[in-house]
């Protein structure tokens, strides 16, 4: 992956989130505070404004993370930001990386999300999408397939009862709604698939 792919990835993710902002907000309104689309769109808006090829994937990834940490943006923004800052440390100080490095960064990122958020698969959070997606990619699945699977994983959060995040306060009332952070994570995988495929 080149740095221009990296920039294109965040641009594509921003576009997808903006297009689905209302849907993400509505999902969050059902089991949270209704701001997930707005939070992500705001944070990513700042990211795409600033993100320019710098010659260093490490610096770019860190910048994206720091921007998400410093743009007021809910639990999801804090976890995304923390994961990206952590992932950046395994990225090269160059404009290009190989598949192995990308996998290492992803794995580092979700480890950090897990450490910070303490959520596991089945807790009805974005980890329900992140963990199986990275596992699939690690075992050689093509990115397009992983993205499709990510969307199914997001949909599969619907019957679950939330055990982490503020939705957990709703108890059984959280059942029957797709987790917004899971849907937005699936959108990130769709964006990645588009950028990598093109």
């Amino acid at each position: 992956m080149t740095e221009s792919d990296f920039v294109a990835l965040w641009r594509a993710f921003y576009d997808k989130v903006t297009a689905k902002r209302d849907e993400l907000n509505q999902l969050d309104a059902a089991i949270g505070d209704g701001d997930h689309g707005t939070n992500l769109a705001r944070g990513l808006g700042r990211v795409v404004e600033e993100l320019k090829p710098s010659g260093s994937l490490r610096a770019s990834c860190r910048m994206v993370g720091m921007r998400l940490l410093s743009t007021v943006g809910g639990a999801s923004g804090a976890l995304w930001g923390s994961a990206l800052v952590s992932a950046s440390t395994v990225l090269p100080d160059e404009a290009q990386m190989n598949h192995e490095t990308a996998l290492a960064a992803l794995s580092r990122g979700i480890d950090q999300m897990r450490a910070r958020g303490k959520a596991e698969v089945g807790d009805k959070t974005m980890m329900d999408v992140w963990i199986p997606a990275v596992t699939a990619l690690e075992s050689g699945a093509p990115v397009g397939d992983v993205a499709a699977q990510a969307m199914s994983s997001a949909e599969a959060t619907r019957p679950l009862q939330a055990r982490r995040g503020r939705a957990a306060y709703l108890g059984s009332r959280s059942i029957g709604h797709v987790d917004p952070g899971s849907l937005s994570t699936a959108l990130w995988w769709e964006a990645l698939a588009e950028v990598v495929d093109s």
Partner: protein, 126 residues
Amino acid sequence: MIALLLVSHLDRVAAAVRDLITELAGADVVVGTAGGTSGFGVDLATIEAEIRRLSDRGATHIVALGDMGSSVILLEESACGADVPIEVVDAPFLEGAVASAMVLATGGGASEARTAAEAAYDLRKR
């Protein structure tokens, strides 16, 4: 309409938590606050006055949380004499208020709001 009632020893604690849950759960959830009598403290008359105010605003059921033991004890005392049913909940103040407001905002009833507030003792923040 089901209302929330927040009782704290310092009036601005209950008022600030009310504003927080309004941000999270929306302005549709009606929240009353009481406490901070003579600067610091809680007394029966202040709580009873707020219960009447909520009932005048149309509350037919109240879910009530207190910041500390004395608030909860006085809430139970005022619940006895009130002409609207009051669920006095022993719950972590902020977390219980958030949980019950979320339940009310998504159409839940008073006893579900009570259960959610109590369950907040067993949930961790992440």
